[in-house]
Symmetry: C2
Subunit: 323 residues, 2 copies
């Protein structure tokens, strides 16, 4: 059993990472207004959030720029238009998605408002991910690496990836429950495995959870108790499919007085709920429960949602007949 002090006290080493623009951008193709992004930035500052992910820095050679909002490609100028010199305690992050990025799009840290480059990769892409981590670190950025879809990887492969990453300059290695299929008891085991490698190589461990089985917050709290320090969350859980760990739940839970949940509710009221009222759809729902339960990518459930289908029984049969 975990120590009660983990619950009543707090660890200075915990970092809260707002991923609303990046994971939430997958829901609205990154069409956030500057007004929205400025208000989110201010809410993060007021709430004591540690990092704000501004979006992807996707390669324009891979994606058609006319089909997405700018936060899919966010460059340093886009960011400066929001944050100026960012003379605050809130650090800024962007994500490089392996295979869909271009490391030449990343200037030296000295010239950039970005503090942290988050690299996301499937396990078979580790060599390319490590190349990106090393390039970003050499340029002066903090770096983290998400190993995606581990619920479909063999434990031995994950261990090899952790050992490889341990030998890079990466600051933090993320547990990612891409399909929202992992239960808290399993999460504890996974966290212990990650933390073992992290201790060996002096790295931090983070978690990025999905809410397919309403476990994103529970899993985040679970591994936080194990020693996982970097905790991803999004406002109103905005993120692909079932969404993520809710910022409002996480900041309500964390005890460090630097965090304040009150400004979160103000932002939800003024910005997030209006997004939902405009018809942008995300969050826990039965179709996502099913893909989570069967450890599948949510794409079928996302399509079911887009098609406004209601025939859950048919959907159940469809996804359970996929081999």
């Amino acid at each position: 059993m975990k120590e009660i002090k983990n619950l009543l006290g707090y660890r200075e080493s915990i970092k809260v990472v707002d991923a609303t623009l990046r994971d939430g951008g997958l829901v609205n193709d990154f069409y956030f207004t500057d007004d929205f992004v400025k208000a989110l930035y201010q809410a993060n500052i007021d709430a004591g959030v540690d990092y704000m992910e501004m979006g992807y820095r996707a390669s324009k050679k891979v994606f058609d720029e006319t089909k997405f909002g700018k936060w899919k490609f966010c460059n340093d100028d886009h960011i400066r238009e929001i944050v100026g010199d960012n003379d605050t305690n809130l650090k800024l992050a962007i994500m490089a998605d392996i295979g869909r990025h271009d490391k030449n799009d990343f200037d030296q840290k000295a010239n950039s408002p970005v503090d942290l480059v988050r690299v996301a990769a499937y396990i078979h892409q580790m060599p390319e991910a490590i190349d990106m981590v090393e390039d970003a670190a050499k340029k002066g950025y903090e770096t983290s690496c998400n190993i995606m879809a581990i619920s479909n990887s063999k434990e031995e492969e994950v261990k090899v990836a952790l050992d490889m990453l341990g030998q890079t300059p990466v600051d933090c290695i993320y547990i990612v429950d891409s399909f929202g299929s992992i239960y808290p008891e399993q999460m504890t085991r996974i966290a212990d495995m990650y933390l073992e490698f992290a201790a060996k190589y002096n790295k931090k461990v983070g978690i990025h959870a999905h809410d397919n089985q309403k476990l994103a917050f529970a899993n985040t709290v679970e591994v936080c108790g194990c020693g996982v320090d970097w905790l991803d969350a999004t406002y109103l859980s905005m993120g692909r499919g079932a969404g993520n760990c809710a910022m409002e739940l996480l900041l309500g839970f964390l005890k460090n007085p630097k965090y304040d949940v009150r400004p979160v509710f103000k932002f939800l009221e003024e910005y997030m709920i209006p997004l939902k009222e405009q018809g942008i759809v995300w969050g826990y729902d039965l179709q996502y429960l099913m893909t989570g339960l069967f450890n599948q990518h949510p794409r079928a459930a996302i399509q079911f949602t887009k098609d406004q289908r209601k025939d859950l029984s048919n959907f159940y049969n469809e996804i359970t007949s996929i081999d």
Copy 2:
């Protein structure tokens, strides 16, 4: 850490209790149609659910019969109209709410389709709860007892209540997170305390969770891993305020092959989602998160919901200024 076998295997002793009519009835004043109740009964049979709670047996001396559907007062005839002789493996339960029941409304078990009498009481009502447990047990019923609102009770008082209940004929003692304020780590400690008394007196322990912080399922799974056997759930989480542990999540998780989640989705599609579409409102929402976070009864959040208010920041100030 819990044994992995708890997750991959299963315990025969686990019982799933459907509380949709009873806790869900608090949302629609118990106005369920007979068609709905028959379909729910069939879904429970098809899904392998162990107990179905048919409602409260509230005293008509306390509540005005014209202001509620019959499942608030459900008598043996109401139940027989749905289940006939109930020649199935599904056992039937009703709830007696201490202070609002009349033990004379309970016939001998030999004359009743009811198998289990569930007694619900606040901790200061224990003597009356025990009187009801003893009366029901003497008449031949299985019995359980919910100690409500323990998040506002002193641990020593809860231990006294557990010791008192241990000496009665009660079959199962329930952990009840009335306000949805308890985190999984705390739940583990509470479960261990209940299980210690249960072992001493040869009782079972159950859990009835609320979803204010999206933790009803996580907490249920958590204590199930500790040895808690009776697990309450409701279809689509239907229950007072933020609702309960979702039947669809729980049956997806449990590994005993007698459980089947497929019929649950059919019932949700055909009966539960239409209820929502009719405008009946329940389930996780931000106002319930707040009352859960501050360990308060959800009544202010229920009123906020009824009034269709959107001013979350004001609500936050209101509930945090209550002493």
